[in-house]
């Protein structure tokens, strides 16, 4: 170990700390918690689609959604980070996180719509593909971030590449203000990155 080159040792140390932080972050839910979350989501969808509140239909919905959730519990809840009790997490999600996301996202949406309408009228566009970095590591988290970026008018995610330092997103931007990766990331992501880190790892 002592005769190793300096740059090699530094690289090994970096990889070691990265593995430790990933193991710390990767506390997934247990199996019963996953089944309960999937069951709730499927039963809500059953109620919306059937639109009846009789006892018979409710019992059939509970049974069917439980059977389906036994087979498919790993699809939507694979990357959720577990912290605290599950009922507390669900209440936090419904009462705190979703209104905060709507509040953050609504103003960005209105501002971006006005900006793109202005670009349509005056044609003062300056398009380009820039790359931004993100700290999210799981598949579901990166997918949610890329979808939210694409949904904002004016930015469009083209590709996602995974490297050792994290994930890199290539974004087509209709009005390029800066070429630097960090400042472009701050402008494009806003508060969405911090919001997603509380749920996914």
């Amino acid at each position: 170990m002592s005769k190793m080159h300096f740059y090699l040792r530094e690289r090994i140390d970096r990889i070691k700390t990265k593995i430790e932080t990933e193991l710390k972050y990767k506390k997934v839910l247990t199996r019963t918690q996953k089944i309960i979350i999937t069951w709730l989501v499927l039963f809500l969808y059953w109620i919306i689609l059937s639109a009846k509140f009789e006892i018979f239909s409710m019992v059939i919905g509970l049974g069917l959604s439980f059977i389906v959730s036994i087979f498919t519990y790993d699809l939507i809840t694979k990357d959720i980070r577990s912290r605290g009790h599950i009922i507390e997490r669900i209440l936090n999600f419904v009462l705190l996180y979703v209104p905060e996301l709507i509040f953050i996202y609504l103003f960005r949406l209105i501002e971006a719509n006005v900006n793109v309408a202005k670009h349509v009228i005056f044609m003062d566009i300056k398009p380009g593909i820039v790359k931004i970095k993100t700290d999210l590591r799981s598949d579901t988290g990166v997918t949610a971030l890329a979808n939210l970026i694409t949904l904002t008018p004016g930015t469009l995610t083209i590709d996602v590449k995974r490297t050792l330092e994290g994930n890199t997103l290539y974004v087509h931007w209709i009005d390029v203000k800066t070429f630097s990766s960090e400042r472009a990331g701050d402008m494009i992501k806003g508060g969405l990155d911090k919001w997603l880190e509380r749920i996914f790892w």
């Binding site: 719509n113 349509v120 593909i129 790359k131 939210l148 694409t150 469009l156 995610t157 083209i158």
Partner: protein, 105 residues
């Protein structure tokens, strides 16, 4: 009153989006105009419909359609843009920088 405001805003956004599809120069900038149609226009028109019907089961179903548009619209536009770039369609001349073609030629 609220539903009238939302409806007029949605129709205005739709008109600007359709104008942008004609006026913008290449594929990628035209995709911006079409995503703006869906998120700004269709979502506010559907919200105007829910505000018009009040809180019933019909309005909850309309909100379900809005959530499905919210999930499906970015996936489709991302797939179109990535396929266009992979199959060799160059961006227009006024493009400032293209880091994706520089990193993965």
């Amino acid at each position: 009153m609220l539903e009238l405001l939302l409806f007029i805003a949605g129709c205005t956004v739709m008109v600007f989006g359709a104008l942008g599809i004609i006026r913008f120069p290449d594929v990628y900038t035209r995709l911006h105009a079409s995503t703006k149609c869906d998120t700004g226009g269709a979502l506010s028109i559907l919200l105007a419909l829910t505000a018009y019907t009040g809180i019933t089961l019909t309005s909850i179903k309309i909100l379900t359609i809005a959530i499905l548009i919210f999930l499906l619209n970015p996936v489709v536009s991302h797939a179109l843009a990535r396929t266009a770039h992979k199959s060799g369609i160059k961006p227009d001349k006024i493009t400032v920088v293209d880091m994706y073609a520089r990193d993965y030629p």
